[in-house]
């Protein structure tokens, strides 16, 4: 079993290394980040340097989330569309194990990139004579946990539908959209409009908000850390909560993706 897992993970790493789509994705984001951080190199004051570090770190973390989604999406869609899985599943390698290997390989790459971003932020802090804040570590870990959830979710969507539909669905129909919708219906209801359709819509938005996966499950609780770069002792627990949420989400996505993979005709 370990040999099978290793063989699959090594093959996936080869895919990540050679995927031109992922490479292009990486280069575009690095270029954008580089361009946005260019002015910061010519700043002298500590406040300006702190603001630059804050901005660069924020952009890089958003990029990490997108890239994590890309990892899950591209590897699944590439294998499903090239029909190469028939070479895997006609050997004593069950879909459950292959799916685990895809997930682990994507999570490993994501972890590696998170570590690089954290290390870069720490180096920049050192170069600009800023203290290496604990919030950097908190945000990096939180982003990594969120990336794991995104990988699992995108893998599921790509197994179920065409990758273009999967991306559209993930970008548009997400929990934030329905939370916004829920807040809107609540405000209208509070203003005195209590039609049946509005109440139905309110319930629909509410349930969809709960059903759809969230990128940051405890965003409201941790938003202060992201804006101030300060983390208090009591706030570290949210990482554990996020980890719990992402574990449940990943198991759910994995189970559904496995079911879909087993029902698919790999011909």
């Amino acid at each position: 079993m370990a040999e099978l897992l290793k063989a699959n993970i090594m093959a996936h790493f080869a895919y990540y290394r050679r995927s031109r789509l992922l490479l292009a994705f990486l280069l575009v984001f690095l270029l954008l980040t580089g361009l946005s951080s260019l002015p910061a190199l010519f700043m002298n004051s500590g406040v300006q340097s702190f603001n630059s570090l804050h901005q660069i770190f924020e952009v890089l973390n958003v990029f990490l989330l997108f890239f994590a989604g890309g990892l899950g999406l591209f590897i699944m869609s590439s294998h499903l569309r090239s029909r190469s899985l028939k070479m895997v599943f006609t050997k004593p390698c069950p879909p459950a194990l292959w799916l685990v290997s895809v997930f682990w390989s994507a999570v490993t790459v994501s972890l590696l990139l998170n570590c690089i971003v954290f290390a870069s932020a720490a180096v920049l802090s050192f170069v600009w004579h800023l203290p290496v804040r604990a919030a950097l570590l908190f945000i990096s870990v939180d982003t990594f946990i969120a990336s794991v959830g995104i990988i699992a979710y995108l893998m599921l969507l790509t197994t179920l539908v065409h990758p273009a539909i999967a991306v559209t669905f993930a970008l548009i129909f997400n929990a934030d959209l329905f939370y916004g919708g829920y807040e809107w219906t609540q405000s209208v209801i509070r203003a005195g409009n209590s039609s049946v359709w509005l109440r139905i819509l309110d319930h629909l938005f509410h349930y969809l908000y709960f059903i759809l996966p969230m990128v940051y499950a405890f965003a409201k609780k941790t938003e202060n850390i992201y804006s101030s770069f300060r983390v208090s002792q009591g706030e570290w627990k949210y990482l554990l909560f996020s980890f719990g949420y992402v574990t449940v989400l990943s198991v759910f996505c994995y189970s559904l993706a496995l079911l879909a993979l087993q029902r698919k005709k790999h011909i």
Binding site: A7, R18, M87, V88, P92, K265, I267
Partner: protein, 330 residues
């Protein structure tokens, strides 16, 4: 080795979910050690049958057993099974060496570098081992597929149109590899349109037509489907008996075909006329001719005859005794 009983496969395809009946009561048996060929027109159901044997598709009804077990994706029964799909269903982003190692490792065993290198050397792939499969020719890709059979002791090998798009030299080489794998005791199931190739390799053939097997027999039996006809060539008085068909004259030599039931009439005729008979042999049919005979007409009749075992044992030559004429090469 493989048993398929009354297998039906139905699925829906396209925007309008048009129902398709791919297999319609397929019955098949592949015995251990067979080099078994699935033959049929496009859309007859050959590939679907193979996908069902490999667990890539589930039959809507019926029973399939491979080595005594029902196949499903990633089943442990595939420990002794290898599959060579049509191009380009390989992991094209891997190099030749990586792909060979990967496919071999999927059997769950650690493969030493030495074994990989030796196999690549043997298949003539050593100099291309850093080349990605996406840039390899089809022949090279098929060799990568063959490598897994050489690294592991394959008991059952499935080949889906293995020589399509290969050049004649590679086809010949490929044929030799297949013969070697078969001689090691592997059972091979091949799906191909190239009937001449099947004739060279297979020992048993199933002809599939509209989702069911119309003929399943030893290849040598299929090649003697026109067993009623004997071809004759003789020299003599220039007289041609009226039961001789497809007559050709080459100087004094007369060539033609005789129905089996008139063979003894011809023997009497040759003795009475003192003919010099050069040839009198069972007319050989190619698999292609047999295939067309079966598919384009009378296939069902042939099948029922074969199932009932009513046809005679094959006789390659007829040598009449007591003839006063001269018989050569008969």
């Amino acid at each position: 080795m493989i048993v398929a009983e009354n297998v039906h496969v139905r699925f829906r395809r396209g925007i309008f979910r048009r129902p398709i009946q791919a297999l319609h009561g397929l019955n098949l048996e592949v015995r251990e050690g067979d080099f078994f060929a699935l033959v049929g027109q496009n859309g007859a159901g050959k590939s679907t049958a193979m996908y069902c044997f490999l667990g890539l598709m589930k039959p809507s009804s019926g029973r399939i057993e491979v080595m005594g077990k029902t196949p499903y994706l990633g089943s442990p029964l595939y420990q002794g099974v290898a599959y060579l799909p049509e191009e380009p269903h390989y992991h094209l982003y891997l190099t030749v060496e990586e792909a060979t190692r990967y496919y071999a490792s999927l059997y769950g065993k650690r493969i030493p570098d030495k074994t990989i290198n030796e196999t690549l050397e043997r298949l003539g792939l050593a100099q291309f081992k850093t080349l990605r499969l996406a840039k390899c020719s089809k022949g090279m890709k098929q060799k990568v597929g063959i490598a897994q059979c050489l690294i592991h002791e394959t008991r059952l090998l499935f080949l889906d149109e293995p020589t399509r798009g290969l050049d004649p030299l590679v086809i010949r080489e490929f044929r030799e590899w297949l013969r070697e794998i078969h001689s090691r005791g592997a059972t091979i199931v091949m799906n191909s349109h190239v009937l001449s190739e099947i004739e060279m390799l297979a020992n048993r053939v199933a002809i599939i037509e509209r989702g069911k097997v119309v003929v399943q027999d030893e290849l040598r039996n299929l090649l003697t489907l026109d067993r009623e006809l004997y071809s004759v060539a003789y020299e003599g008085n220039g007289v041609v008996p009226d039961y001789l068909s497809s007559v050709e004259r080459l100087g004094a030599l007369v060539k033609g075909a005789i129905a089996k039931e008139r063979l003894y009439d011809f023997m009497e005729f040759s003795r009475d006329a003192g003919l010099l008979v050069h040839e009198c042999s069972l007319k050989k049919t190619s698999l292609e001719e047999s295939f067309f005979n079966i598919v384009k007409g009378g296939g069902e009749t042939e099948l029922s005859e074969r199932r009932n075992g009513e046809y005679m044992a094959t006789q390659d030559t007829a040598t009449p005794g007591g003839s006063e004429g001269q018989w050569r090469n008969c």
